[in-house]
């Protein structure tokens, strides 16, 4: 216990803690919209597609800075999005196959570039493979500051455009009728997803960062039917899992942050699926039981009534 407190007292650790919490919060918020727009796996595809972008950014500049990686991964993510759209529109392949193709081809390219970097004469490449599973403890102050700024701006954009995102999530046709620039808003939302994914890569890793977008949103859906509350809850779930993930992975050596964060989020998901009001499994079981009891009671009353009637006759 003392070790934990001393760890939290460490100013560097406080920064990392803050960064991961904010990261969970912002991905949770954006994940809600991508869940409602039925694009949950898009986050996964974009995260895998970001790998070659990061590698190319590193190869061109030779420095490890999260800002540059954001740009590289962002460009790769946008190319991936357009690739998926182009394949789906111009061939008989469906979206899932197009996503699978883009995801694995980009990831394969990323692995090739990663090995080229490792075998080549690029100095200071140590730690680049940490990107696969995330190691929050390896972040330096400037990384955390960049991440914090990115997360705060994501949350701000979502708050400001909440009404617009709400409409395009539920009824894009209606939004078009109202005169909103739907195509622009959809692209913007996609861009926000790309940014959230890329910001999360250093803390959670390429393979698992999608879970931060999906799992909190699905969990939040179990507690409420209102979008506002869902976004808040999802952000909260994301923040809690980010905090728990960083904390546990920093206290056990050799444990990457990403999987622990994802497991924390999954635990919250299991709690939600069991105990969520109305939708949760326990609530459903109870409801079924009470309906059954009421039915039996009414049946008995009816039976008694008919017996009385017969007696009267």
């Amino acid at each position: 216990m003392e070790r934990i407190w001393s760890m939290l007292a460490d100013p560097n650790m406080q920064w990392i803690f803050l960064g991961c919490t904010l990261l969970g919060l912002s991905s949770g918020v954006i994940g809600c919209f991508s869940y409602l727009r039925k694009q949950s796996l898009m986050g996964d595809t974009l995260a895998h597609a970001a790998l070659p972008g990061i590698c190319i950014a590193f190869m061109l500049t030779g420095i490890k800075s999260i800002g540059l990686f954001l740009i590289g991964a962002g460009i790769a993510g946008i190319i991936a999005t357009f690739g998926i759209g182009y394949i789906t529109r111009n061939s008989k392949l469906k979206q899932d196959a197009a996503m699978g193709i883009v995801l694995s081809a980009f990831f394969g390219l990323g692995i090739v570039l990663l090995t080229l970097i490792q075998h080549g004469s690029y100095g200071n490449q140590a730690g680049l493979d940490k990107f696969l599973f995330g190691q929050a403890a390896s972040m330096i102050a400037s990384d955390v500051i960049t991440m914090t700024i990115v997360c705060i701006s994501l949350i701000t954009i979502c708050t400001l455009l909440f009404k617009q995102f709400k409409i395009i999530s539920f009824d894009p046709g209606f939004a078009r009728g109202l005169g909103y620039p739907v195509a622009f808003l959809e692209q913007l939302l996609m861009l926000l997803i790309v940014v959230a994914v890329v910001a999360g890569i250093q803390a959670v890793g390429v393979v698992l960062v999608a879970a931060l977008l999906i799992t909190p949103a699905v969990s939040a859906r179990y507690w409420t039917d209102r979008l506002g509350l869902m976004v808040v809850l999802s952000g909260l779930f994301g923040a809690v899992s980010g905090a728990i993930g960083t904390w546990i992975s920093a206290s056990v050596s050799n444990l990457p942050t990403g999987p622990v964060t994802v497991l924390a989020a999954t635990l919250l998901f299991v709690v939600s699926i069991l105990f969520g009001p109305q939708r949760g499994l326990v609530a459903k079981r109870l409801l079924r039981k009470s309906v059954k009891q009421r039915y039996q009671r009414e049946n008995e009353l009816q039976l008694e009534g008919s017996i009385k009637k017969e007696a009267a006759l």
Binding site: D96, G100, A210, A211, T215, V218, P259
Partner: protein
């Protein structure tokens, strides 16, 4: 000689994946293939921790269980009202995370490399030799993959008609009394088997590339199921050869190069397929105009 074994292993992986990938693409379940290829990870790790060896039947069995568990969980969440792609996302990330945590906790005690699971080490295939009574029988991986391919082709061959109907019209299949759910789980079980026997060569993540990309390429080239399976296997094997050549030239990851080669062949088919290709279509329109 090592080249021969590496190419043979690659070709076997590509054939296993090529056959199954066709059904995944046709049933619009490409992302479930992706999910299974990630979520066999805890099975692989647990079996490895229990048995201490890389190529045991236990590992195959554990991975099979994990694959079926994934399929079952995805279906359960879907029925309880979660969107299908979100339930895929929740399930496979959770299982994969368990696998990675297990590897990082026990990696120092046992000889299991995280990188080897993820990217595979096809270059080391010919060092892991199976000896029977002192006689060199060739690499273990080749035997394992050979048996897997045999099982896959036997099952698909025996129930070809049923799989075909389930792929194109599950409702009709159910109406004439084919147990659609059983065949669904059978297919998913085969996919998990293929994944676990290829993870050593191409890694758990890139298996999905060999599952989906060659099958999609074949899908663009033909409208007949039998031909599509053959083409898918052919494209897979071709990308193995092409990828290995490139990898040797560039001194880069072999598995990564194989998937890139498959992607390259897909782009070629996407542009120049005689019936579907974009450029061919454009030319045809121009000829008509």
């Amino acid at each position: 000689m090592s080249d021969f074994w590496i190419l043979l292993t690659g070709a076997l992986v590509a054939s296993c994946c090529g056959v199954l990938g066709v059904f995944l693409v046709l049933r619009k379940m490409a992302m479930i293939g992706d999910a299974i290829s990630h979520s066999v990870m805890p099975g692989i790790v647990i079996a490895f921790l229990l048995s201490g060896s890389r190529d045991s039947l236990l590992m195959m069995f554990a991975a099979l269980l994990c694959g079926l568990l994934t399929t079952f969980l995805i279906q359960m969440f879907q029925q309880s009202g979660i969107q299908s792609d979100a339930s895929i996302g929740v399930v496979f990330t959770a299982l994969f995370a368990i696998g990675v945590v297990l590897v990082s906790l026990y990696a120092r005690q046992v000889h299991l490399d995280q990188d080897a699971i993820l990217y595979g080490e096809i270059a080391y295939v010919h060092w892991n030799i199976w000896e029977l009574g002192g006689v060199n029988m060739g690499p273990k991986a080749v035997w394992l993959l050979g048996i897997t391919l045999l099982i896959i082709s036997t099952v698909i061959g025996l129930f070809y008609k049923q799989f075909k109907l389930c792929a194109f019209d599950p409702a009709l299949a159910a109406a004439i009394g084919i147990p659609v759910a059983l065949f669904h789980y059978l297919l998913m079980g085969l996919v998990s088997m293929a994944t676990v026997s290829s993870f050593e060569s191409v890694g758990a993540i890139l298996v999905v590339g060999l599952l989906i990309i060659p099958a999609s390429t074949a899908y663009l080239l033909t409208d007949r199921l039998g031909l599509m399976i053959a083409l898918s296997v052919a494209v897979g094997v071709a990308s193995t050869f092409l990828g290995y050549g490139t990898a040797v030239l560039l001194d880069a990851s072999i598995a990564g190069c194989m998937v890139c080669a498959a992607g390259f062949l897909f782009v070629l088919a996407f542009l120049f397929s005689p019936s579907q290709g974009i450029i061919i279509k454009k030319l045809r329109i121009r000829k008509l105009a």
